[in-house]
Amino acid sequence: MLNYIWAGMVIFSVISAAFGGNGEVISSAIISSASDAVTLCIRLGGTICLWGGLMEIAEASGLTGAVCRLLSPFLKIVFPKMDMKSKTAKAISMNVTANLLGLGNAATPLGLEAMKRLQEENGKKDRASADMMKFVVMNSAAFHLIPTTVAALRQDYGCKTPFDIMPASWISSAAALLVGLTAAVILIKISESVKWKK
């Protein structure tokens, strides 16, 4: 899937640039993207290390276990077969917590930790497991209780009540999450039965 999307993105860009006469712009974009990727990787690496350190403390003190118990009723709905005392469940619940608090920088490193645990349980190492698919969909429709960045920008542009979008934002997050996860479950079932027939 990603191979097709990626190739499609590049080819479509070059065609658009050719028609729009943006040849020089896209040339410099290609070169600068290489260093941008390295910068992004270093920045992400820093947050991974920071949260890796903090989570080691939280894990040892039993804090992650407590958060996991709190979220387990919800996680049970999405991941019915998961052991709620496992390290995987703990890592997922930390990622969900970071998303809820609107800590986007923390959500990625904590999510990567959860992916590592999910991969350990995965039978086929190059193929995403059903739990992985659900988890990644969950993160692409992340539920923020407090949209910190958005509120800050609204305030910068002269809004007196920057948080008044919160209820509407909860509704659309919840709808996206519900549709995304339902679609994932149905599509997983379909693709499994297709494979089984073959």
């Binding site: 860009s13 658009s16 350190g53 992985m132 920008l153 542009y157 509407a168 934002s169 709808a175």
Partner: protein, 173 residues
């Protein structure tokens, strides 16, 4: 409220360390051990990130996004998404930094309390960058076959855009 939110991160950081300290854990040693584990996984992220950034930068600079936006214009009119918010909806699954810039432009041109500004705010508050999540999460563990992830995630994004446009009108004070 504004002041409280800026203290979420410091409170979480301090909370974790204080709780650990109270439980008698050697917090600094423990922190350092965790950082060491994180170090190795960071380098592995460069290959997927390099590919993603190349594709996204090319899309943004080539004018391809305008082409896609124009193609989707009729769909936006049916679903109630304001035409001026459409570029943000197209960009938000692809690029996090790009959609942030686009969001600021909408706030500047229309104001945060306009219908366009509100829909854009709700979209920004309720989506994550789908392709970033897919490439980085799967790339970090070497998964090549992503199955149904992308279609399901894009469906979630589309739901978010349509519901955002609906709920912006609903809660208009």
């Amino acid at each position: 409220m504004e002041k409280i939110t800026s203290f979420i991160l410091p409170a979480v950081t301090a909370g974790i360390i204080i709780f650990g300290f109270a439980k008698g854990i050697k917090v600094f040693d423990c922190f350092a051990a965790g950082v060491k584990k994180g170090l190795s996984s960071a380098i592995g992220l460069l290959p997927p990130l390099m590919g993603l950034v190349l594709g996204v930068t090319m899309l943004r600079q080539s004018g391809a996004l305008e082409v896609i936006t124009n193609m989707l214009r009729p769909l936006a009119q049916i679903s109630g998404i304001p035409v001026d918010v459409l570029p943000l909806a197209v960009l938000s699954p692809i690029s996090g930094s790009g959609s942030l810039t686009m969001f600021e432009q909408i706030l500047k041109n229309f104001g945060p309390d306009s219908f366009e500004g509100r829909v854009a705010s709700i979209i920004m508050g309720s989506t994550e960058t789908t392709f970033y999540a897919v490439t980085v999460y799967y790339g970090s563990v070497g998964i090549k076959k992503t199955g149904i992830t992308v279609p399901a995630a894009l469906l979630a994004d589309m739901t978010c855009f349509v519901v955002s446009a609906m709920s912006a009108g609903l809660f208009n004070s």
